[in-house]
């Protein structure tokens, strides 16, 4: 755990302590489990985003992918009667294809990632809305997929499975990012693509892989989200989740200039954002202030981090 991650952890602990003192229910097991569930859901796609941000790119279509794949998944499973494991695999495959498309457009066609994924944001949501004719896709009453539901929304030893899934993904991705050859190449490409190319790294392949990893993880999170909301209105499902993911990644120490980031940081970033959402509801703060609280804490956190590192630098 590096210094940045540690700072974030301290911030989380401080915020959580203050909230717990003012509202002891904050640390009641049921609330912790609820929050853990949301951390799992949001953490999955925030980790995904980190991979792309480390290459110096950005993935703005996260929310739209979650809407489109969610709609398709629910429709296939509920209305078309497709067995859910097939449907889930299909979604992951579709996710991979989207990432491949983004990666190819960015590397071969040399279009800026912001543009490619902004178009993705617009197109996928449009397709999702068209698919349902602007209606909602949802599980009908009593429709029951016990295994699927247990796997996604169930709990083991009181821990929500979405959280467990996120932890497993985070662990795997930690190894990939911080220990594997691919991870090192990712950082190199993000820092200086040209220099990486001159060192014989297949930079295009690395970048494409980052986008594919991102959309595949996002596809998995889309399935979890679909099971969580159980009905999906494609015009609003997942709106602004891309900003959310980027905020978590950046809070967690990723630089939008590329070449920097850590999985632990991103997970902690997600935790902080969820704790903030939760405290607004628990402390009875008007929900209109939800956003304002989140914005202020991010700003204060980043400012504090900045000041501390300055201070340290001077101290040396």
């Amino acid at each position: 755990m590096n210094r940045k991650d540690l700072g974030l952890l301290v911030l989380i602990v401080v915020v959580a302590t203050i909230v717990a003192i003012r509202q002891p229910l904050f640390i009641a097991p049921v609330n912790i489990a609820n929050t853990a569930n949301l951390i799992g859901l949001f953490g999955l796609f925030s980790i995904a985003q980190a991979f792309v941000i480390i290459t110096g790119g950005i993935e703005l279509s996260v929310g739209s992918i979650i809407a489109l794949l969610g709609v398709l998944f629910v429709d296939l499973v509920v209305n078309q009667g497709m067995p859910w494991p097939f449907a889930a695999l299909l979604m992951i495959g579709l996710g991979a294809l989207m990432g491949l498309a983004h990666g190819l457009l960015i590397t071969r066609m040399k279009i800026q990632p912001f543009i490619v994924t902004l178009c993705g944001l617009l197109i996928y949501r449009g397709v999702a809305r068209f698919y349902t004719g602007d209606g909602t896709a949802g599980f009908t009453f009593g429709a029951s997929f016990p295994t699927l539901e247990w796997l996604t929304m169930g709990r083991s030893w009181g821990v929500p499975h979405s959280f467990i899934a996120m932890i497993v993904v985070a662990a795997v991705m930690w190894v990939v990012l911080h220990r594997s050859v691919f991870g090192r190449h990712l950082f190199a490409v993000g820092k200086n693509e040209e220099a990486a190319r001159y060192s014989g790294i297949a930079t295009n392949r690395v970048i494409i892989a980052a986008y594919v990893i991102c959309t595949v993880l996002t596809a998995i999170s889309a399935i979890f989200f679909a099971m969580y909301t159980r009905s999906i209105s494609p015009s609003s499902h997942g709106n602004f989740y891309e900003l959310y993911a980027i905020a978590a990644a950046v809070l967690g120490g990723c630089s939008l200039r590329g070449g920097e980031g850590s999985i632990v940081g991103v997970v902690l970033g997600t935790v902080l954002l969820q704790v903030l959402q939760n405290l607004v509801n628990l402390l009875g703060i008007p929900s209109s202030l939800n956003f304002a609280v989140m914005g202020s804490v991010i700003l204060i956190g980043v400012l504090a981090d900045q000041q501390i590192s300055r201070y340290r630098l001077r101290g040396k």
Partner: protein, 505 residues
């Protein structure tokens, strides 16, 4: 000699972990050309940055016209008449030549609207460009200029200031003889006009040619000063490194072997009508000389798979290769140490060890997981072997001096199995001591059977190191020279396009 108008007294500058300068005292008078020499990392650029207001000293005093200045910023420096040609290029490639020259002090019109007077701007720029015969116009976009042309532009920019002092931090590092000559005559003119000049270069004969006085730095301290009559190559070197240096050229241990790299009728995009053919034998150092923009870098990039081959072929040991990317080239054992080290050769934010292992990371990994211990072990070995001066191998490459950075580039390739190494300006911005070490490495490599293609604009280097020289002129080879035919004169004749008899092929 006139009174000094600028004085630095007892300047000390420390960076975290390094004392870049300690207690340096230095002054310069109008119409004086001071050569500033020293090894890489001796603190030359740092000293100049303090003069230019770019960095502030940790301790010491700065006096302009005898008045003490407690804080000295870039605008202060400009106001005091100090112009600065930075070692690193500081150009805006989204703007044109004229805009770059006058950036920060554009001629104005329109009163409070503060509009740029484009006519006046051009009128002021054209004569400056003509004076240095740069070969491009005021409205040429800077992104279309080569590195050497950009370096000339930096010089033009400094001249445009009509300043009292021009600091030139390695202005010639990518210039060839002709441009350097022009620069020398400009320096003479400036001196006649009463302008003071500080001239930093690792090409000591240039310093010899123009300096009235030489100041030598070693490890951040002033170790000596030479007056006009005492300035010789040998004395400068002795002061810089504390000992003598023998001649550059070491003959190969064995005669060169069979042809390793063969370039046949290769066509590149800048000179689509021209073809290049040359061969490099294993165990041979082939120098590739030529004027700025003659297409050498482009040829190297084409061979290395950075740019597409528009025609012709590249073969290694008689086998024709298909190279679409640097990856392909590296797999075949063809490596390139690029001209622009900082942009292409290194990841400046990465530690030394990560840079060294980057091209070959898989070989330090089992099951695709990197073994950090093995990586560091190898990097330590290379650090020892190449004498890379750094606290340890986890030091960020960006904090190293130019020569040490270049050694890291070398270390990266030496950790693998080279067949052919192309060096594009291998000693750009590298001090004599380190240069010598790099030449010895080149020779050691070639003795080990590696074929070496050395692109260089430094005439001393071309003549002094190569076993054989090919000269390029406008996208094609204008001739080859054997070792016994080599002289600055013969290379230059070919470089400007006079065709000669073919040397031994």
């Amino acid at each position: 000699m006139a009174e000094p108008f600028l004085e630095l007294v007892g300047i000390t500058k420390t960076f975290p972990g390094v004392a870049a300068l300690s207690d340096v005292t230095f002054s310069i008078a109008p119409g004086e050309v001071v050569g500033l020499v020293g090894e890489n990392g001796a603190g030359k650029s740092t000293l100049m940055k303090i003069l230019g207001g770019v960095t502030q000293p940790t301790a010491g005093e700065l006096r302009v016209d005898g008045a003490r200045r407690d804080s000295f910023s870039v605008p202060d420096a400009i106001r005091s008449g100090i112009a600065f040609v930075h070692q690193e290029l500081n150009l805006f490639d989204n703007l044109d030549v004229a805009a770059n020259i006058f950036i920060g002090r554009e001629p104005l019109k329109g009163g409070p609207l503060r509009l740029v007077d484009r006519e006046a701007l051009r009128a002021q720029v054209e004569p400056l460009l003509a004076r240095l015969k740069v070969g491009y116009g005021a409205r040429t976009p800077v992104r279309d200029l080569s590195i050497a042309q950009q370096q000339l532009l930096e010089i033009v920019k400094a001249l445009s200031l009509r300043s009292r002092l021009v600091i030139m931090d390695e202005p010639t590092s990518s210039l060839t003889l002709t441009e350097t000559d022009r620069l020398m005559s400009v320096i003479d003119e400036l001196r006649a006009d009463g302008v003071g000049i500080i001239f930093i270069s690792h090409r000591l004969h240039e310093v010899e040619r123009c300096a009235d006085r030489v100041v030598v730095l070693r490890d951040g301290r002033m170790v000596g000063e030479l007056a006009k009559g005492e300035i010789t190559h040998e004395r400068m070197i002795r002061l810089m490194i504390g000992r003598d240096l023998k001649s550059l050229y070491t003959p190969p241990k064995a005669p060169p072997g069979a042809t390793a790299l063969a370039i046949d009728d290769v066509v590149t995009s800048t000179y689509p009508g021209k073809r290049v053919s040359l061969e490099v034998r294993s165990g041979e150092i082939l120098g590739l000389a030529g004027l700025v923009g003659s297409g050498r870098t482009e040829l190297a990039n084409a061979v290395f798979g950075i740019e597409p081959l528009l025609g012709g072929s590249v073969s290694l040991d008689g086998t024709r290769l298909r190279i679409d990317s640097p990856r392909d080239a590296i797999r075949q054992g063809i490596y390139l140490a690029p001209e622009d080290r900082k942009s292409f050769g290194l990841l400046l934010d990465f530690p030394i060890v990560d840079n060294i292992s980057l091209p070959d990371l898989a070989s330090y990994a089992s099951a695709s997981l990197v073994n950090r211990g093995r990586e560091i072990e190898n990097a330590d070995r290379q650090k020892q072997r190449l004498n890379i001066r750094a606290p340890n191998v986890t030091t960020r490459v960006g904090t190293l001096s130019g020569g040490n950075q270049q050694k890291v580039v070398l270390a990266k390739w030496l950790s693998m199995k080279p067949r052919v190494i192309i060096f594009d300006e291998p000693t750009r911005g590298v001090d004599v001591g380190a240069k010598k070490e790099i030449y010895e490495l080149l020779r050691a490599l070639s003795d080990a059977g590696v074929a070496i293609l050395m692109i260089s604009s430094d005439m001393e280097e071309v003549v002094g190191v190569s076993d054989r020289v090919a000269v390029m002129h406008e996208g094609t080879i204008s001739g080859f020279l054997r070792r016994d035919e080599l002289s600055e004169h013969s290379v230059l004749r070919l470089a400007v396009g006079t065709t000669a008899t073919k040397g031994t092929a």
